[in-house]
Structure formats: structure tokens, C-alpha cells
């Protein structure tokens, strides 16, 4: 059976060259980078090279501004809890948005519920955008931190980070952005954006799972989130995940290679897929912003059907996709992101996310456009909601 992977927003295939770069660190250069001996020193060299590769990918000023973590979630936790706890004497108010990934949202909720912080969740418009002026108005005396994501993992909307960070800087508020979906998939320049902290995760751009990084601008003080050894200049305890870090470094290097060409390719595939769906299927809702959008993200709601049924039907045709449907997550409410953009529960249940990478090819897009209308039709024929309308 044909197999088409269009769930790159969930995770990506590890690039074969990434695995190749990692392999010697399993079997030969397996020392602990904190060790004095040769096995350790060689491993350390690899780790520091990887740090420079990540630095270059996001144009950080200094490799020491990169802290390696176990992924996007840990980076967000470290940025938010680590900063909030270290600076809580300056204030206890945090600003975020209603459409953040749970790695940010649940972290903010934890600070609110368990640690005495107050959090503002900025609403978004129908495209999923926060409003810069509204953000500015929300900043108060007590505000110490703002955390607003760069590219939305569900609907692909890219927030005006540069403008938001500028407002924050003017008001003396430290600004973190969860750029897990963006980094490696589009140009991201921390100096140009003017952010203080930025989270990234290797497995979203053909690196290995279980490794990520947090950029922390020099001078920004944090508590560690992993309390332990003196690794990462005492900012993150635990034996270095050498193989993962080498993989992240290699993925960062590969991502920089011809980035603009890859972005162009993916954007073209995305737009073809969007057009193909819009032209062939009725009663649909396009989600996210049409232009300020991650290169690989396509998201629609199909009225009268439920997302998980759609995913299963696509899977039977070999197409791997995802949905903000409640039933895929085992919760009762559908995606908080889709609800925040103003969709009803009923419509939000019927969402489909197709996420592309530069590994995808045009014929795969054609295949999806060929198969999807029949599947939607079959599921609608089964739906009591559709019948009642026709």
C-alpha cells in the first residue's frame, strides 16, 4: 500500500544523515562529556560542536546561550518555571495566549494554581492572531514574563513575535517564544526577533526525538528545572544525551542547507493542497491565517464529520494525518486552539491537519487530493447531522 506521511507537525522522520552522525556516539565515543578522560573529552567536543550548530541555526550571539534539554516541553518548562521562580520577587504576573501548546499552557496553569502567580491568557482573532496593542495594555507593574508562541502547531498561524518582543522589551518584560514548530522549518533569528528566550525541539525538523534546546539570552537569570549535576553551566543537571545532542546539531546543520529553497518547495505543496481541498470539497472551514502561516501547515474543518473517523479512514488509504478532535486525545473537548478562533464545538470536532516537510513530494499531495473527497463523502453519508441538512 502507498504510504503518505503528512503528520510532520507531530514529528518527522529522522534524516538518515542525522542517524549516521549519531551512531559513533553510541558505540565508540560513548564517554560522559563531563569526564576528564579521552572518551569524555571526545564526547564533549561533539556536544560543543552541536551547540555551535544550533547557535548558527537561530543566529544566537554566543553558543553558551544554548541550553540542551529533552525536548520542546522541557524547554518551555525551563523557560517559564525557571524564570518565574528566579524572578518572583520582581513580580508574579505572566502573559501568554489562548492558543499555546500545552507545554506552555499547562505550565502557566501550574504556576497559577500551585505557585501563586497570576496569568493572562490573551484571546486571538479568527485567524488565531494575538493583538499587539491588547498585549501592551495587559502589561502591568507586576508583569515579569510574556510567553507567546511563534508558529501554531495546529493551525499554523505565525504570531507577530518581533512586534510583541519589542513591546515587552520597552516595558522591561522578559519575552519567551515557543518556536518548536518554526525552528528548522523557516528562518528564525533570535537577534532579529529580539526575544530573550526561545524553545526548539529536534524531532520537528528531522532530528531525533527526546532532545531540544532553550535559547537564553546572556544576562537572563533562571532557576534550573532539572536539579542535579553541574552540566550546562549548572542550568540543567543530568548526563548529557550525547547522541541526541549530536543528532540535534546535525539536524540544525542540515536545516540551514538551502533553507529558503526548502521553504519554497514546502509552501508550494501546501498551497496546492489547500487549493485542491477547497476546489473539491464543500462545506469546509479553512483554519489559521492564509499568509502568516507555517510553510507546511494545512488545516480544515469538514462539517458534519468527526476528526478521528476521518483519520482512521485516511489511514486505511495509507495517509497519516492528525486532528484537533477530542477523540484523538481522549478528552471531551476538541482543540482549545480551534475553539479560541471562534469555531463551534461541532465544527471543531471535524478538523484535519495535514503537515508537510521537504521529504513530501507533489504526487503525494495529488494522492491526498484524489482520496480525500470520497472519504469525506462516505463519512457524511454516515452522519446524522448531514442527513438532517440535505
Amino acid at each position: 500500500m502507498k504510504r503518505v506521511y503528512m503528520d510532520n507537525g507531530a514529528t518527522t522522520r529522522t534524516h538518515p544523515e542525522v542517524l549516521q552522525a549519531m551512531e559513533p556516539y553510541f558505540l565508540e565515543t560513548y564517554g560522559n562529556p563531563s569526564s576528564v578522560h579521552n572518551f569524555g573529552r571526545e564526547a564533549l567536543k561533539g556536544v560543543e560542536e552541536a551547540r555551535e550548530q544550533v547557535q548558527k541555526l537561530i543566529n544566537a550571539h554566543d553558543p553558551q546561550e544554548i541550553i540542551f534539554t529533552s525536548g520542546g516541553t522541557e524547554s518551555d518548562n525551563l523557560a517559564i518555571i525557571g524564570f518565574a521562580m528566579a524572578n518572583r520577587k520582581k513580580g508574579k504576573h505572566i502573559i501568554t495566549s489562548a492558543v499555546e501548546h500545552h507545554g506552555v499552557l499547562h505550565t502557566c496553569e501550574y504556576l497559577e494554581k500551585e505557585l501563586g502567580f497570576s496569568v493572562t491568557y490573551l484571546p486571538v482573532d479568527k485567524f488565531g492572531l494575538v493583538n499587539v496593542e491588547e498585549f501592551q495594555k495587559t502589561i502591568g507593574e507586576d508583569t515579569i514574563l510574556a510567553t507567546i508562541m511563534m508558529g501554531n502547531n495546529e493551525i499554523g498561524t505565525i504570531q507577530p513575535i518581533k512586534e510583541l518582543a519589542e513591546v515587552a522589551r520597552e516595558q522591561g518584560v522578559v519575552f519567551h517564544t515557543d518556536a518548536v514548530q518554526a525552528v528548522g522549518n523557516m528562518p528564525v533569528d533570535v537577534q532579529d526577533l529580539g526575544v530573550d528566550m526561545l524553545a526548539l525541539s529536534a524531532h520537528k525538523f528531522h532530528g531525533p526525538k527526546g532532545v531540544g534546546a532553550l535559547y537564553v539570552r546572556k544576562g537572563v537569570k533562571l532557576h534550573p528545572h532539572m536539579h542535579g549535576g553541574a552540566q550546562e553551566k549548572k542550568r540543567r543537571g543530568s548526563t548529557h544525551n550525547t547522541t541526541g545532542i549530536i543528532g540535534l546539531g546535525k539536524a540544525a546543520e542540515l536545516a540551514r542547507d538551502n533553507l529558503s529553497e526548502k521553504v519554497e518547495k514546502v509552501t508550494k505543496l501546501r498551497d496546492k493542497l489547500i487549493k485542491g481541498i477547497e476546489e473539491n470539497i464543500e462545506e469546509i472551514v479553512f483554519n489559521g491565517h492564509p499568509e502568516q502561516r507555517l510553510p507546511g501547515n494545512v488545516n480544515f474543518c469538514f462539517r458534519y464529520i468527526e476528526g478521528e473517523s476521518l483519520l482512521l479512514s485516511l489511514d486505511l488509504e495509507g495517509i497519516a494525518a492528525s486532528s484537533g478532535s477530542a477523540c484523538t486525545s481522549g478528552s471531551l473537548d476538541p482543540s482549545h486552539v480551534l475553539l479560541a478562533t471562534g469555531l463551534s464545538h461541532e465544527v471543531a470536532h471535524g478538523s484535519l491537519r495535514l503537515t508537510l516537510s521537504y521529504f513530501n513530494e507533489e504526487e503525494e499531495v495529488d494522492y491526498v487530493i484524489e482520496k480525500l473527497p470520497g472519504i469525506i463523502d462516505k463519512l457524511r453519508q454516515m452522519s446524522p447531522l448531514y442527513q438532517s441538512k440535505s
Partner: protein
């Protein structure tokens, strides 16, 4: 995640569709929670002669709907009323734990359809 039986019923749902002039009919669930099942029955000599379902919901919702129609067909109303969500799930070789709570309404829909039939009979009677 799902058993082979669930996937079989999801892929080839039995008795799916609408019915002209049903003797009893009911809908359970609501679109907010993401699951709606509609069941229609024809009754002859106190037996379920024909049955049809429509479902808006996840794979488990579709499969349980399909399975309950297959199990109910040909049974007397009293027998059909003995079917529970649990026996339906068991007939499908079980459902994932997260799916037990919301998508498992098919027997409820069937019972309501039978109830609807009985109420109509009473009115007629």
C-alpha cells in the same frame, strides 16, 4: 489501539443508512461532546426486522453503532433490551480505556428507539 473487529465494523459498517417510515427511532448524544447516534427500527411480530444507524463520532462510535445493529437484528424487543453498552464493547473485543466513556452509547440509542416504538404503539393502541 482498536481491535480488528472494531476496525472491521468501522471500515464496513453494517446496516448503515436511513430508513423510510421507521416504526421506532431515536438519537442520543450531542454534537458538542462529539458523538451522535441515530437508530431506526422496523418491528414485526415483536421482533426487530430491520435496523439502520447513522453516526457522527469517532471510530469507536461508528463500530459500536454497527455492532449493536448486527446484534439486535432478528431479536425480540425484550432480548434487544438486554443488550448493554458493555456487551456491545465485549462483542468488539473491547475498546481502548479512553473510549469507554463517550463513544459507547450505541445500546442506549437502541433502547431509546425501542421505547419510541412502544410509545407509538401505545398512542396507536
Amino acid at each position: 489501539m482498536y481491535s480488528e473487529k472494531v476496525m472491521d465494523h468501522f471500515t464496513n459498517p453494517r446496516n448503515m443508512g436511513s430508513m423510510e417510515n421507521p416504526d421506532g427511532k431515536a438519537q442520543v448524544g450531542n454534537p458538542t461532546c462529539g458523538d451522535i447516534m441515530e437508530i431506526a427500527i422496523k418491528v414485526e411480530e415483536n421482533k426487530i426486522k430491520d435496523i439502520r444507524f447513522k453516526t457522527f463520532g469517532c471510530g469507536a462510535a461508528v463500530a459500536t453503532s454497527s455492532m449493536v445493529t448486527e446484534m439486535a437484528k432478528g431479536k425480540t424487543l425484550e432480548e434487544a433490551e438486554q443488550l448493554t453498552n458493555k456487551t456491545v464493547a465485549e462483542a468488539l473485543d473491547g475498546l481502548p480505556p479512553v473510549k469507554m466513556h463517550c463513544s459507547n452509547l450505541a445500546a442506549d440509542a437502541l433502547h431509546k428507539a425501542i421505547q419510541d416504538y412502544r410509545e407509538k404503539q401505545t398512542k396507536k393502541g
